[in-house]
Structures are given as structure tokens and as C-alpha cells.
Symmetry: C2
């Protein structure tokens, strides 16, 4: 596992006005190679495994930068602290996570919009923020 970020990830980092450094490359690469969202400790460990010289401040700062760049999202998972996920698509969206294999699917914009619209109508709210995280078992894992 080389753990170097793909061209598309790099170009999204550059597009956000941020520099490509070996550390960011490595951290983004680790996230890209991960099959499931990585928790903070898992990510720190995985990064340390590949380059013990990278400090924890750098890891968290890089996560913040990658979130700002829309490359990474923090997904709250049931029970624990949640994890960091490298998203192939930009922009805020929501996830459906398989608790067994860790597979992540993006929810469809339409179904989310329909639900949020119905809630807004029923309760008379203007909804600014929707945090929707669903988890269960995918077709292969049930």
C-alpha cells in the first residue's frame, strides 16, 4: 500500500487553495485506501505506521484542511465517536454505513430533500442543517 493520494484528491486540495505536502499526501492516501471510516485513533496509528515523524497536531490540522476542501467528511457513527471518510464526491451529503463490512453509500439528494421538506412543512421550521446518519447491514452482509 503506497498510501499516496490520487490525482483527483490532489486537485481538490489544490482547488481549495491548499498546498500538497508529503504529510497531506500520506494522510489523504491512508483515508483513500481505507474501506471504512477511520476513527481518530485508527487514523493516528495508520499514519504513525507509515511515518512515525508525523505529529498528532499535523494529522488533526490536515483533517481540518481536508474537511474544508470538501475532500473528507466526519461521519458520526452509532455508539462511538464517529470516523473520518474520504468522499469521492464533493459537497455536503449524508451516508449509509454497513456496520459489518464498513461499506459506505451516499444517500440520494432527492430522498433527503423530500424528507427534510416534509419535516419543515409539518413543523413550520426553516431547516438549516440536517445531520442524517443511517447504519445497518448491506445486502451482502445480512
Amino acid at each position: 500500500m503506497l498510501c499516496v493520494a490520487s490525482e483527483s484528491v490532489r486537485s481538490r486540495i489544490l482547488a481549495a487553495g491548499q498546498r500538497i505536502t508529503p504529510q497531506r499526501d500520506l494522510i489523504a492516501g491512508v483515508l483513500e485506501a481505507a474501506e471504512a471510516p477511520l476513527g481518530a485513533q485508527e487514523l493516528l496509528d495508520a499514519v504513525a505506521l507509515r511515518d512515525a515523524g508525523i505529529g498528532r497536531a499535523t494529522v488533526f490540522r490536515t483533517l481540518q484542511s481536508l474537511q474544508d476542501a470538501g475532500v473528507v467528511q466526519h461521519v458520526p457513527l452509532p455508539g462511538d465517536q464517529g470516523g473520518y471518510l474520504l468522499c469521492p464526491t464533493s459537497g455536503h451529503h449524508h451516508h449509509l454505513v454497513c456496520q459489518r463490512c464498513g461499506r459506505v453509500e451516499d444517500l440520494l439528494e432527492d430522498e433527503v430533500a423530500l424528507f427534510v421538506g416534509a419535516v419543515a412543512r409539518d413543523h413550520g421550521f426553516d431547516i438549516d442543517h440536517a445531520g442524517l446518519e443511517l447504519s445497518g447491514h448491506c445486502s451482502g452482509c445480512r
Copy 2:
């Protein structure tokens, strides 16, 4: 503000096989009197204000007990760490929070079930857990 839990809260604590102690009474009372979800620090402060002898371990332990009893829910709020909320209705449900006045409404079971069902169908998942937290501005605050 007496900050003593109502009868209905007490009976729900008892129904969960837990004891009523002055500390639990006070903590439940503080949550019951709060208009908006209380963050950990706010809650610790509010409890200390009324009885400085109550330790932080007791507060967190009591929150855990109250959550187990279905009396309290932890609601993740956008941006920050979320807060603790005393729910008038038992059982797992979801919330709609006004970011301005802190008012909380429960989402209707039907609208949630409809959404979760649609997602399950579209993605071929069995959905075990849905974390839905919506926030915005209520009719009075926009």
C-alpha cells in the same frame, strides 16, 4: 427554581429499576427545567450551582442511568458537542431543534419511518440505526 424532578420522571426512573436519590432528583430537575438541550459543561455548572457537593462522576453516571431509563437523550447539535435533553416521551426518537431559542420538537414517527423505509429500499440495506438531527429556525424565530 426548585429543580426537583416531576412525578412522571421519577416513576420512569423507578420503572427502569433505579433508585431515586437526591442527586438524581436534582439532575433530572435541572434538565426538566431547561428550555434547550444542556451541554456537558452547562449541566455541570447548573448542578454545581445548586449543590456544589455533587461530583462530576455522579453527574455523568446519572446521565447514563437516565439515558438507560429513556428519560434523557443526548442530541448531537451542529457544530458543537451536542447536549442532553429530558424527553417527555419514552423510547428512541428524533429531534428538530431551533438554533435560536433552543426549542425542541420531536419528529413524527411516520415521517421518519417513511424516509428510512425509502432509503432501505433504494440501497438494499437493512437499517438498524438512524441518527437524524435536524436544526433550523422555528416559526417564531425566523
